[in-house]
């Protein structure tokens, strides 16, 4: 794979992270940890993988993406803003009264959002419906859903996993943001959901485990998923919660908390320095 493309996506992922910190800081609330852990995946989706057109956001042939872990929407909003669905200035009024960007994704109001989500476990089932609709309508778009590892404690996620395998939804790609942390602590301590691989395989899925911060591995997994026929593919993305901001990394306490001004300045400085280290134009 061309290094240039990887570098470009790394820069976009960092831009997404800057947007996440900006949004959550200005909102004085929100969920930075799980948004930061999914930033590289979102960069790969919106700037390489997804067949979407910002000028025709409701195109019936577009690929679909569902942020089932809806609380990580600062990452989605940041990616959508970079893509041009709405002005980046909207990020600064995230969660403000009367503003566009709701605390969890709202498909009715926000251009580019394919599904409202927030009550955990539901978005992934909705994605199954979108993938099934493609089969029924004879369309070849693909549907992607991002599910949190904590979220996968919801029984509905496993209902959907059963459903997708039963209906052979090979046009569906589940990405598990396996950052290992949830509000109350380590997923393995709160209610262990791992290992994913053997569970998903037992349910009839194709499973690919990757480093969810490695652009090349993410893109390669998407490519492999497309080639698998007759069953859905799950990408278990090993990630670090809070990735990219040193003091937030691997800390459950940063699941749903906004940085203060000092922390904000540090986070922005760290991310900007990293972005600059990647070289090229800003």
């Amino acid at each position: 794979m061309e290094n240039e493309k990887i570098l470009a996506l790394q820069k976009i992922a960092t831009e997404i992270r800057l947007g996440i910190v900006e949004a959550v800081f200005n909102a004085k609330s929100g969920h930075p940890g799980g948004a930061l852990s999914s930033a590289d995946i979102l960069a790969c989706l919106y700037f390489s993988e997804l067949n979407v057109d910002v000028n025709n956001p409701k195109d019936e042939n577009r690929d679909r993406f569902v942020m089932s872990k809806g609380h990580s929407c600062p990452g989605l909003y940041s990616a959508l803003a970079l893509k041009g669905y709405f002005p980046a200035t909207e990020l600064k009024s995230f969660r403000h009264t009367g503003a566009l960007l709701q605390g969890h994704p709202d498909m009715k109001a926000i251009s580019g959002v394919d599904m409202s989500a927030g009550s955990l476990g539901q978005g992934f089932s909705c994605a199954c419906g979108m993938a099934l609709a493609a089969k029924l309508n004879g369309k070849d778009y693909r549907t992607y859903a991002l599910v949190g590892d904590g979220e996968s404690q919801e029984g509905q996620v496993w209902e959907a996993i059963m459903f997708a395998a039963h209906y052979k939804l090979d046009n569906l790609c589940l990405i598990i943001d396996n950052n290992g942390l949830q509000i109350d602590g380590r997923v393995s301590d709160v209610m262990n959901t791992m290992p994913y691989e053997s569970k998903l395989e037992a349910f009839g899925w194709n499973v690919i485990t990757i480093d969810g911060h490695n652009i090349e591995e993410i893109l390669d997994a998407f490519k492999k998923a497309k080639r698998v026929k007759g069953k859905p593919t799950a990408i278990v993305a090993k990630t670090v919660k809070g990735k990219g901001v040193s003091f937030m990394e691997d800390q459950a306490s940063w699941h749903g908390k906004a940085p203060n001004e000092e922390q904000y300045n540090q986070a922005m400085a760290e991310l900007t320095a990293y972005k600059n280290s990647l070289g090229g134009n800003n």
Partner: protein, 314 residues
């Protein structure tokens, strides 16, 4: 048409009829197709029937996803599971984005019969009508059940329709019958008391009118098939004429049609409103007809409440 038909049967027949006309219609069920009567559609259009297994929560969210891609999903299970178990999915996956999903719940109310309290949902109307933008319909017979399904397809947005297990007498098989979402039907004129009813209680209300007439009491009967949006105008204008209202439904007297009418009367033209329904208790096992008597969900029960409403007039 038979003299009696369960509204769930009329629902299944309507689906099969609609399937011919509208190719976007898909039907989802959670292993209850034989009971909800979606099996009639399944037999005719197997490629558009999606059995979700006993996993209702996934089913309602899948229906939401399908609707975002142009499908018109009818998702069916028992009322207990549609409105109860999957309230969160119906609210958040379907209601919040105002998606074009038809939630068609069968086996509502006490008339479920022998299965007993766990399956007799007397709370569904209350739950569904609190969801912003949700249309809530409780048809009174097979004719109205079919009409409600047809109207739901024409309406772009979420609709909850309640169907029953028990065969009900046909009362709407007349030429002038017209179903419109949100438009109550004046079944009979009266001057002393207004009876507002829906579902299986409409035919009982018509019986109650006859009994009251024998005692010299003139009752009007309004079929409020749509609980939301409620036809406030028709109900309030009749209440202005009679000065007393009794509301009858096969549902807990808390939160459903009784409450909706009491709210409308209280805000527009306060006169006595007496509630007739399941009086905040769980159901029991037994043959449906016996249970209906046991809980007083009949004409006799309406007559008593109507007299109470009249006695409360100032």
């Amino acid at each position: 048409m038979a003299d009696k038909i369960a509204t769930r049967e009329a629902y299944g027949n309507a689906l099969a009829e609609l399937g011919e006309i509208n190719k976007d219609i898909v039907v989802l069920d959670a292993d209850l197709a034989e009971a909800t009567k979606t099996c009639i559609f399944k037999k005719k259009f197997p490629e558009r029937f999606i059995d979700c297994g006993i996993a209702e929560n996934n089913m309602f969210s899948v229906a939401a996803g399908l609707s975002t891609c142009g499908k018109i999903p009818f998702a069916s299970t028992f009322a207990m599971f549609a409105a109860g178990r999957s309230f969160d999915q119906v609210r958040n996956s379907i209601g919040y984005p105002h998606l074009n999903v038809k939630i068609c719940a069968t086996h509502a109310g006490i008339s479920v019969g022998e299965d007993g309290a766990t399956h007799q949902c007397n709370e569904d109307i209350a739950l569904m009508r609190t969801i912003p933008g949700m249309v809530v319909i409780n048809p009174s017979d097979g004719v109205e059940a079919r009409a409600a399904v047809m109207a739901a397809v024409e309406y772009n947005g979420p609709v909850y329709i309640r169907f029953g297990r028990l065969a009900l007498p046909i009362i709407n098989n007349n030429e002038g019958y017209k179903f419109e979402i949100g438009k109550a039907i004046k079944m009979a004129e009266g001057t002393d008391v207004t009876i507002v009813a829906n579902g299986m209680m409409v035919s009982e209300a018509l019986e109650a009118k006859k009994i009251l007439a024998e005692e010299g009491i003139s009752a009007s009967v309004i079929n409020a098939h749509t609980v939301k949006p409620l036809d406030v105008e028709t109900i309030v204008s009749d209440a202005k004429k009679t000065g007393a209202v009794v509301v009858s439904e096969e549902h807990n007297i808390i939160g459903g049609l009784c409450s909706a009418v009491a709210e409308a009367i209280g805000e527009n033209y306060p006169v006595p409103v007496v509630r007739h329904g399941v009086e905040d208790v769980f159901g029991k096992s037994g043959p449906a007809k016996e249970l209906i008597e046991y809980y007083g969900l009949n004409a006799k029960g309406i007559v008593e409440k109507a007299k109470k409403a009249i006695s409360l007039k100032k």
